[in-house]
Amino acid sequence: MKLRILLLLGSACAALVAFALASPRVIAADTVDPATDAKAFQNFFFQKFPGVKHEDFVNGPYSMNEDMKRQWLEKEEFPPYEFALDAGKEMFATPFKNGKTYADCFPNGGIGIRQNYPYFDSKEGKVVTLELALNRCREANGEAPYSYVKDEMASLTAYMAFTSRGKKMDIKIPDDPRAREAFENGKRYFYTRRGQLNFSCASCHVQSPGERIRAEVLAPALGILNAMPIYRSEWSGMGTISRRFITCNSQTRAVPLEPQADEYRDVEYFLSYVANGLPISGPGARP
């Protein structure tokens, strides 16, 4: 009798082990795997727009419409963000009251590093964006932080982006469940419908890039932050990533969150990670 029970138990365990081995692949598919997500995300756009060169996706609407690309190239001869770029370069070199400069806050003196932002700060357990790091640098040196949506921040990020032009976006997700959760939270925000118009970011930038919303041609979500910050004719001024997120919210009639809210930091993390490998083209000019 006992033997039969033992046999029974043994086979049950074997079955369990077999099941356990098989299931991780099944479970893994459901848990967050950023690398597979990024590959799927990029392939979606490469297949949907076979005619667009991969690195051209960072040019937003201009990768979708020839006539607008011509208008853009004409403007790029003497782009309207020239002044912000020069102002940013000057600000970057001007020391704070305590004699330090931004270069002391950033690796490699802040030159050519934009492609690694945002990054996951394991001490803080949260995503840190370039705009946030710049303001933290100011505060650490006894200076008042800049508004996230005004020209000073745009000039600084314009200069830092310019020093990284052409470098490939290189966002890392450390082996830390909180980092994966931030990526997932960003992805969730990106696909969640909000506002009375009931749009999500994906409604415009995944389902209908290349199509028009009145005068504007919609940019593909792939590489959509690579050209940031942007000079927009619509604003006849510079716009940071924070300003873009806030105005997009308002357009769908959703009340924006405070700049650099966790959701914004995470969606920037998501959008930047899935654009890994595509070149930085900021600062940019847009309609």
Binding site: M68, K75, V149, L197, A215, T247, S250, Q251, T252, R253
Partner: protein, 161 residues
């Protein structure tokens, strides 16, 4: 469309502004005396006139005739009414002046350029357009006036707000 809470003036305000002044513009100067464009004075009256034909008359004192020797380059749909790249080149010779008119703007005359001898008869600039309108380039060559026109669509961008 940015919201009214936005710190910067929004497109909608610009458009409303444009409409309101159009009405005021109507009641201004009676027909201004003909002025040759070549003089140095800033053609203030021409810039104040609403109507394109009047503005051309005020600036040049003559009426233009269309010419295919002028190549006017403007977008079919303006990326944005605030910054519309417009340029013109011409094979006409002895060109002394080129001007741009946007018929539907509050003031039709947008920009006027003087070409002393030696200047190549071509110019590129970025104009503002209140709404969809015809854009006309007028070229004064050897004392006569020629024109080329193109329609440019302008609407606001964005989905709601």
């Amino acid at each position: 469309m940015t919201t009214t809470t936005g710190p910067h003036p929004t497109r909608r305000l610009i458009l409303q502004g444009a409409v309101s002044v159009a009405l005021i513009g109507l009641g201004n100067l009676p027909f201004a005396p003909a002025l040759a464009a070549a003089n140095d004075k800033y053609p203030d009256e021409a810039f104040k006139l609403k109507n394109e034909a009047e503005a051309i008359k005020a600036l040049y004192g003559k009426t233009p005739e269309p010419s295919d020797k002028i190549k006017l380059d403007a977008p079919e749909i303006a990326e944005n009414g605030a910054v519309v790249p417009v340029s013109v080149t011409t094979t006409l010779d002895k060109v002394t002046s080129i001007s741009f008119f946007v018929a539907e703007n509050p003031n039709a005359l947008a920009a006027s350029y003087r070409f002393p001898d030696g200047a190549i008869p071509a110019v590129a600039n970025r104009l503002k357009m209140a709404k969809t309108s015809s854009v006309t380039a007028i070229v004064e060559a050897d004392g006569k006036l020629y024109s080329a026109t193109k329609d440019v669509k302008v609407t606001v961008g964005g989905c709601g707000g």
